[in-house]
């Protein structure tokens, strides 16, 4: 009965594989889960020894992240406690003897992140769609060289390009401006968007457009009415990839902004806490920052391979 034996052995192997894979998956997720947990911990639970897994959740970290507070004196405190117009944030701060005096810098930096990521993605994808169409449909002299050039711009370490860009920006007044960061991230994302979109466009049969051209459409009409609707999924995936990269970018933001246009990644380490490291605020900041990315990863899962290989591989 060797066959039956084989089947049982195969089943047992699958079982082992499932268990091992699940365990590894959990191990992989511990850091992220731990961070999420930390974001909701009150201060005492964070520095408790040994690490605490159960605690009464608190939004202290988020309040610490999003607001600026000042310490209240005892008389101020008593006056404060009698007020009825306090919202939940005020009440959490009050428990520590603090009054909220305004939104923290982090709020404006998160706003900067959103603005810069949004506009740079819009630009990078718009320009990318046009260039990808040209590379995909027209004979461009030196196509291979241009494409290598476009991709190689992404391979350069940010620090290497930043020194001259810093001087250039300072000379023309783009240092620490939204426009400067948007342009820079557009460039940074263009290479990815051109490569990805070219792959998507290559898959759309030329015959559709050729038929349209024969029917009297202009090239522009064929592009907007036939190719673009067909490429819409590809464009959506590209948008999301560009958003993630612009959202996560740290090095350029660190070196080319100081305050007005500074984004969230370089400020999470510095913006928080004057007295020591406030881990719950850092964790809350990280969590707020990572949640969109995690959601998007799930939405993108079928395109991840394509994105990370610049469109060379598809699943």
């Amino acid at each position: 009965m060797p066959k039956v034996e084989n089947v049982t052995r195969a089943r047992a192997l699958t079982g082992v594989r499932v268990v091992v894979a699940t365990t590894l998956c959990i191990i992989f997720l511990i850091p992220v889960l731990w961070m999420a947990l930390t974001a909701f911990k009150p201060r005492e639970a964070i520095i408790s020894v040994p690490p605490r897994f159960f605690f009464t959740p608190s939004l202290e970290g988020f309040v610490g992240l999003l607001t600026q507070r000042s310490t209240l004196t005892r008389t101020q405190m008593e006056k404060y406690q009698q007020r009825t117009d306090l919202n939940w944030m005020d009440r959490i701060a009050l428990q520590r003897g603090l009054a909220i005096i305004g939104p923290s810098q982090y709020v404006s930096r998160l706003t900067n992140s959103v603005i810069i990521a949004f506009f740079s993605t819009a630009l990078a994808v718009t320009l990318g769609v046009l260039a990808a169409y040209a590379f995909s449909r027209f004979r461009v002299r030196g196509t291979a060289d241009w494409q290598f050039f476009i991709l190689s711009t992404r391979m350069l370490p940010p620090v290497v390009v930043t020194i001259p860009i810093f001087l250039m920006y300072r000379a023309v007044g783009l240092f620490d401006t939204h426009l400067g960061m948007i342009l820079l991230y557009t460039c940074f994302n263009l290479s990815l968007s051109v490569w990805l979109l070219k792959g998507f466009m290559d898959e759309i049969p030329r015959e559709y457009e050729e038929a349209a051209l024969v029917d009297g459409y202009s090239r522009w009409q064929a592009f907007t009415l036939i190719v673009l609707p067909q490429a819409i999924t590809g464009i959506a995936a590209t948008i999301v990839f560009c958003l993630i990269f612009a959202w996560n970018e740290y090095a350029f933001a660190l070196m080319l902004t100081s305050d007005t246009a500074r984004t969230a990644p370089p400020s999470i380490p510095t913006v928080i806490g004057t007295a020591g490291v406030e881990w719950s605020a850092i964790a809350a900041g990280s969590l707020l920052f990572l949640i969109p990315v995690v959601i998007v990863t799930f939405a993108l899962r079928n395109y991840l391979l394509r994105g990370i290989t610049f469109g060379a591989l598809r699943q």
């Binding site: 499932v18 992220v32 476009i150 391979m155 001259p164 591989l313």
Partner: protein, 312 residues
Amino acid sequence: MAQAQDQAQAAVRGAPLARRRRALSDEALKRLFLWPTLTLLIVFNIFPLLYSLFLSFTEYSAINSSQPPRWIGLQNYSDLLSDPRTWSYFRITGFYVAASVLLETLVGFGLALLLRRKFWGSGLITTLILVPMMLSPVVVGLFWKLIYNPTYGIFNYLLGFPVGRGPDWLGTPTLAFWSVVIVDVWMWAPYVMLLCLAGLSAIPDYLYEAAEIDRAGSFYTFLRITLPMVAPLLLIAVLFRTIEAFKTFDLVMGLTGGGPGESTNMVAVSLYRTAFSEWQTGRASALAYIVLVLIIGVSNIYVKYLNQIKAG
């Protein structure tokens, strides 16, 4: 009547003209579509690179902009190459690249082998494992700092060290180096896994059936079928990770800031320090150029393979 004939003739004569105009408009459209992208990339890449090439031959400090760059020829390069610290940055980076890429390959390939055959929930597991890869490295570095904390961190706790007796991962030079490697592997092994999964799924089943008929052992099958078939994609993963690990900056800044001492001072970090805290712009440009030449070498190979895979 004559008028209509004229019109018809004009139409006939006009036809090739119209076609020519359309051909021209194709050409115009192509330019219109391409030049914004190419201009932008040239302005933001070629020009800065030429400028920093110039700066690399000068003595210049960006913070002291009243003093114009002073030409000193190859001085910066010879200073850098004779400075033992430069070599130590490259040595640390080299070890780091080797260790993390090797571990990522092993872990990633292992995970791919585990997940190649579908089972209930395997899709979810695969996606969950891919999450770290998408996160911002500096934020990752930051919360791993909490995890590594010697007193209340969870890392030592899970490793089973008694409270307060565990090693101080980020405070000890050798351990700090490996701490960064561990986080890098955590983030990027999924990347290798994803590429390996793609490679594995492309292996036709009949190869394995043939091997079974020939009574080939599982190790032999792995060595002669699985490995060679995955090799091209594995190579892509290794090349890409080599380039990226060489550039590691965000993670180190979030985790150790290059310390303790110089133990995690990678090339990109020291470059940043030379340029933006010591403000030795000329010297930093020279170091940047050395890095640039190395990176361009490796990315050339990478893009070539990428194109090959695209074509094949």
